[in-house]
């Protein structure tokens, strides 16, 4: 059964090729259904292979399938081959599962788009690349998938390319990720030079023989790579902008799957992490913790429904890095899986809202949508409870695992735990804010907006959460306000709501994978062969675990309560909770952009100037000088080429004479 592993990526590849050749002819909606079918096929193949794998004894759950030799040169040789083990099959299960649901959803979401079939072509290509990434049996094949998903992400962010913003966002994503790729490539060079192979089985088998400094260098380079793809400080910049893509893309690529590849890479290389110095892995944990806190604080003050979720994704990925850095690989995988379910759900929910609101993404324009979009609202609320860490929803269990690993670490681990708890508080707060602004309170779509008021009019309170804004009677409002009154938000078509319900089910029950009770550590037991005993050992007693869980729940409830008070009950003005500095993301993006557009660009221009003026100037100057000199010397022969040739020939003869003399003497 495990021999069928090649079928897993083969399905989306076949889908991609079919759409490439016949996509336009198939058109809407057949192209979408075909792509969905390919993903369902891939999901079924994954389940089939999974059943085959668990049928084997635990120590035989690593299976390497080589298709063909890819790049064999000298000592260097890599194959196109698949490594099937508990880690890769876990990745495949949630990737194909979530992908299939999101494909289904997209059939409805992309309805009427001029490039309908092209969208699904990219989506299938993405799924193929993602599966190559996790199934590849060597670093280079993972890198192929890594770059493939990056390219697809670029295509899909810039999918509506005639808007300059989308095109810029796509380019930014690709280029930022390339910074991470630099780390990946150098890490591979290091690994090959030190180990003699970049085949995972070889690397993992001999990582123990690496010197601590080499292993640390590889770990840090992998961290750079992972920080690019998984949007961690300092490379997270591209992810908020990537929200320019269609919402299913945000759900699939920028929440559930692609952004977890950095996490996957670090877990896959766990023996190298284990062999490196402690400060190297601690760096991973701190990068994760700081990113989690930083992004959560920004999410608090965002008004774009997708931006909130984007920063939330960055923050949740930070949790996973935090866990990995402390050796809590199982916790990281666990949180990755549950996060994929509830974050995909939240994104698709936001897509459903955006669909019903004619493309408007500003939460200040929403309100009370639960009435008109009941299914979207209920499923979104499930996602909200899951991410906020309310038991028994999935997010509670996985987040608890991450925090437990931190608390158990001792020393600086306690500080990391405190940060983690703070992030949990902020998460509960901003997610509640989002739910309230979108689904509850006043319906605000028809309100006049500040930029619609005439310049001399008195300023209005905005957004007006509780009472309709007081606009003086003599103020003339533009037609756009009246037009909006005619708009009626609506629930989305069945393909979309069905997907929401499916994901909501997963968001509720995904916690069952790894419950902290005796005998329920299914995921931990299953992953053991891939982690080769490198998983951090937790000493905490049962009582401590319950206590920590209780603290997490209390924190979540506080976060929810504060947000409800501020945004639903008028207890506190929301304005004070949304300072400018957070809305602007601590000005980090702006600073980087200013640098790139300012001194960075100037430096590039200076090099181009140097090339034109100095280097080429010297060449042209020499030519002119020779021309002038030769016309001066030989007035009879002013043939440009000939005079030059004559000069060269005479010079050449002199040199020849010199060499001959020197050599014979």
């Amino acid at each position: 059964m495990v021999e069928a592993v090649w079928l897993i990526p083969a399905f989306p590849l076949a889908g991609f090729l079919t759409l490439l050749l016949f996509g336009r002819r198939l058109g809407e909606p057949v192209a979408g259904w075909l792509a969905t079918l390919a993903m369902v096929g891939s999901l079924l193949a994954t389940i089939f292979v999974y059943l085959g794998l668990i049928d084997r004894p635990e120590d035989a759950r690593m299976f390497d399938q080589v298709l063909f030799e890819w790049v064999p040169v000298g000592n260097f040789s890599v194959d196109v081959g698949f490594l099937l083990d508990p880690l890769s099959i876990t990745m495949c299960l949630f990737i194909t599962g979530v992908s299939a649901v999101i494909h289904l959803y997209s059939v409805g979401y992309m309805q009427g788009d001029a490039n309908f079939s092209k969208f699904f072509l990219y989506l299938n290509l993405f799924a193929f690349s993602m599966l190559m990434l996790v199934l590849g049996d060597n670093m280079l094949l993972t890198f192929l998938g890594w770059e493939g998903v990056g390219a697809c992400s670029y295509f899909l962010i810039a999918f509506w390319f005639d808007d300059e913003t989308n095109a810029t966002a796509g380019k930014k994503a690709f280029v930022t990720n390339r910074v991470g790729d630099w780390g990946f490539m150098v890490a591979m060079f290091f690994t090959f030079t030190a180990v003699g192979s970049i085949q995972y089985i070889d690397v993992l088998g001999s990582a123990g023989g690496l010197s601590e400094s080499t292993a640390s260098a590889i770990t840090l380079l992998l961290l750079i790579a992972a920080a690019g793809k998984s949007a961690q400080i300092p490379l997270y910049l591209w992810l908020p902008d990537a929200m320019a893509g269609p919402t299913p893309v945000s759900a699939l690529i920028h929440a559930a799957t692609m952004v977890t590849s950095g996490v996957y890479l670090l877990i896959r290389m766990n023996p190298v992490l284990e062999a490196s110095a402690e400060w190297a892995t601690t760096t991973i944990a701190w990068v994760g913790a700081i990113t989690a806190l930083f992004a959560a604080s920004i999410a608090v003050a965002q008004n774009d429904i997708k931006k909130v979720l984007a920063y939330s994704t960055i923050s949740q990925l930070g949790y996973m890095f935090l866990a990995i850095g402390l050796g809590g690989y199982v916790a990281a995988v666990f949180h990755m899986v549950t996060h994929a379910c509830f974050k995909a759900l939240l994104f698709l929910g936001s897509g459903s809202v955006i669909h019903g609101m004619d493309g408007d993404q500003d939460m200040r324009h929403y309100g009370r949508l639960a009435k008109v979009m009941p299914i979207t609202a209920i499923t979104f609320i499930i996602g909200w409870l899951a991410i906020s860490g309310v038991p028994p929803f999935s997010g509670f269990w996985s987040k608890d695992e991450v925090l437990l690993v931190a608390f158990d670490e001792g020393g600086w681990g306690k500080a990391l735990w405190v940060i983690g708890i703070l992030v949990a508080l902020l998460t509960a707060f901003y997610m509640t804010r989002q739910v309230v602004l979108t689904f509850f309170g006043r319906y605000r779509y028809n309100d006049p907006r500040p930029d619609e008021l005439p310049e001399n009019a008195a300023p209005i309170e905005y957004p007006a959460l509780y009472e309709p804004p007081a606009v003086a009677d003599d103020v003339e409002l533009p037609a756009s306000v009246e037009q909006r009154a005619k708009h009626h938000p609506h629930e989305s078509p069945w393909t979309m709501t069905a997907s929401l319900v499916l994901l909501a089910g997963l968001a509720v029950f995904a916690g069952l994978l790894n419950l902290p009770f005796g005998g329920w550590h299914n995921l931990e037991k299953f992953l053991e062969p891939s982690l080769a005993g490198n998983e951090a050992h937790i000493d905490a007693s049962g009582g401590l675990k319950v206590g920590l869980g209780a603290i997490a729940v209390i924190v979540a409830v506080v976060g929810v309560a504060v947000a409800l008070g501020a945004y639903l009950r008028n207890k506190r003005s929301p304005k004070t909770l949304e300072p400018e500095v957070l809305a602007e993301g601590w000005y980090y993006d702006q600073t980087v952009s200013n640098f790139m557009g300012g001194p960075g660009r100037k430096a590039f221009e200076a090099v181009a100037w140097f090339d034109r003026t100095i280097i080429d100037g010297a060449v042209v100057g020499t030519g002119r000088a020779v021309q002038a000199a030769s016309t001066g010397l030989q007035r009879v022969q002013n043939g440009f080429v000939r005079s030059y040739a004559a000069l060269l020939a005479s010079g050449g003869l002199l040199l020849l004479a010199y060499f001959l003399l020197r050599a014979t003497l």
Binding site: D64, E69, V73, G74, Y154, V179, G196, G209, D611, V641
Partner: protein, 549 residues
């Protein structure tokens, strides 16, 4: 092996003088065209296409008949020529030159079919065919004088192609190109003569210019290492200008930009390889000690070229100039790989020569197609073309990604291997060079965005998409981009024996030089193709499972 052996069945010896034919057919075509009456203009293009296709077909035949396990020269042809001076008509092919010959054979028909000249088709096609004969000659000549003649002869047709059928400031560009590259190679002739004369006097035998004899006798090394180093530099200067290596590159953007499409395709695709090929075939082989001695210098210059070319490319406003500067960066990778002096680096460099020919050739064709439609190459004046020409945009994207070095496409394999090779030889230079991977994405994606994304206005909004015939022209290149990215093994297999022989040659003649390579920690060994650890392929599927602790 299975796939490779069915596709490229090795044929052993072939009676037909393949190599001479590869030079003679296009050369005869050039002569034929000049003899044809001007009154039959329709014949010129047909003859040129026919003969270049025939030459291309023979180069494919050569590929099929090439014996992949052999490291020495195959299909050798030897005729005494100027026997008094020891010059002979000596041709041969090995793994280093094979794919450059095939590349030449494939690119010329494409370039010839790419566009019709606006004037004087007779001369235009005659020059192109002569150029093809010259390029073929460079890659096959095993006699130094013959090599030099071919090396210089190619300048003349290119000079006229740029000067007569080029754009804008074409005469200036053509003259600059001609003088710069000729000045560079003038010293090489001195070097060649010095080498041969010294070899003859040391060995006490008749004068010979045979590459193999001169390379194996290493006469210069015996006198003093600096004599050999000076002669090496006289070769290196000629090659460095041709590559071009920073800071000798400024003829290239002018020549590329002003040349007609066919000229740009050949210039980038084939002629830039004359320099890098020269380093491999002559520089490293004739002067192993000097090559090792100067390797750090060329590694440094290669890395500078990678970064510098990319930075300058970013700021270009003319699409063709941008592609030209991207060539400076790409050729930097080739130089870096070559002077890593190990199997990975040199193979990567050689692959990159072929890949760059394919990708940049395709890029210039596409830019030419845009120019034909829009009569501008200025990036500012283009925009939103993906709306009006989605297929062209898709093709451009694929070629661009290959140039960026996306895994799965051809550019990646070569780039990766050069960097890997460089890492094992000069770790920190390789770490810096890898930054070029980021910059390549910057300049190409930015250019793509400005040309194809955004709103389409004015003439950009209704630019016609790729025509079927244009698509056919690009198809072989697109096929190669995919094939060499997904399955480069048959190509590498044919290159590697010759490259390994070259490295052995260097190791043999240079004391304390050993190929820079990796430590091997892994017990199973790196060459694991037939390991029992791994299952064979999908069909027999009976894989063993690594009991990995």
């Amino acid at each position: 092996m299975g796939f490779a052996s069915t596709v490229f069945a090795s044929g052993g010896t072939v009676d037909f003088p393949l190599l001479s034919a590869l030079i003679a057919i296009p050369a005869a075509g050039a002569v034929l065209l000049t003899l044809l009456p001007r009154s039959r203009p329709e014949l010129f293009r047909q003859i040129a296409v026919l003969l270049s296709v025939a030459t291309g077909a023979i180069s494919i035949w050569l590929l099929a008949a090439f014996d992949s396990g052999v490291d020495g020269f195959q299909f050798r042809t030897e005729h005494s020529w100027v026997s008094d001076l020891g010059i002979s008509w000596l041709l041969g092919v090995d793994g280093i030159s094979l794919f450059l010959i095939v590349l030449t054979g494939i690119l010329f028909p494409i370039a010839i079919m790419a566009e019709e000249p606006d004037r004087d088709p007779k001369q235009y096609y005659a020059w192109l065919l002569l150029l093809e004969a010259g390029c073929m000659g460079v890659f096959m000549a095993l006699d130094l004088v013959m090599f030099f003649i071919f090396f210089e002869i190619v300048l003349v047709p290119m000079y006229f192609l740029i000067g007569r059928w080029g754009h804008g400031n074409r005469v200036f560009a053509a003259t600059k190109f001609f003088l710069y590259t000729m000045a560079g190679s003038a010293l090489m002739l001195v070097g060649i003569v010095t080498l041969a004369v010294l070899d003859a006097s040391r060995g006490g035998h008749a004068l010979t210019f045979s590459l193999e004899i001169l390379g194996d006798s290493q006469a210069l090394a015996e006198s003093s290492s600096w004599t050999a180093r000076f002669v090496f530099l006289s070769f290196a200067l000629a090659f460095a200008v041709k590559v071009p290596i920073f800071p000798l590159h400024t003829w290239l953007p002018d020549a590329h930009t002003e040349a007609p499409t066919a000229g740009s395709v050949i210039l980038a695709g084939v002629m830039l390889k004359l320099g890098t090929y020269g380093f491999l075939r002559f520089g490293l082989f004739l002067f192993p000690e000097a090559s090792v001695y100067f390797a750090p210098l060329f590694v440094a210059l290669g890395v500078i070229g990678i970064l510098y070319g990319a930075v300058v490319a970013t700021m270009q406003r003319d699409l063709k100039r941008l592609v030209a500067y991207s060539s400076v960066a790409h050729l930097g990778f080739i130089v870096l790989g070559t002077f890593s002096l190990n199997s990975e680096g040199i193979t990567g460099g050689l692959l990159q020569m072929v890949n760059h020919g394919v990708s940049t050739g395709a890029l210039f064709l596409l830019v030419g197609m845009i120019y034909q439609r829009r009569h501008t190459r200025m990036i500012d004046e283009l925009g939103g073309l993906q709306k009006s020409a989605p297929i062209m945009a898709g093709v451009f994207m694929l070629v661009m990604l290959s140039s960026i070095g996306l895994p799965g496409l051809n550019g990646f394999v070569g780039e990766y291997l050069t960097l890997l090779g460089a890492f094992m030889a000069h770790r920190w230079w390789a770490v810096i060079a890898t930054v070029g991977v980021i910059l390549a994405a910057v300049y190409l994606l930015w250019a793509y965005q400005r040309v194809f994304h955004g709103p389409a206005e004015g003439e950009n909004a209704d630019m016609p998409d790729l025509r079927f015939s244009e698509g056919l022209l690009l198809l072989p290149l697109l096929g190669l981009i995919l094939f060499m990215g997904i399955y480069p093994k048959p190509v590498i297999e044919r290159m590697e024996p010759s490259i390994d022989a070259l490295i052995d040659h260097i190791e043999e003649y240079v004391e304390d030089f050993t190929e820079p390579t990796n430590d091997v920690l892994v017990a199973t060994g790196a060459g694991h193709g037939e390991d029992t650890e791994h299952s064979g392929d999908t069909d027999d599927g009976e894989g063993s499972e690594g009991a990995d602790e």
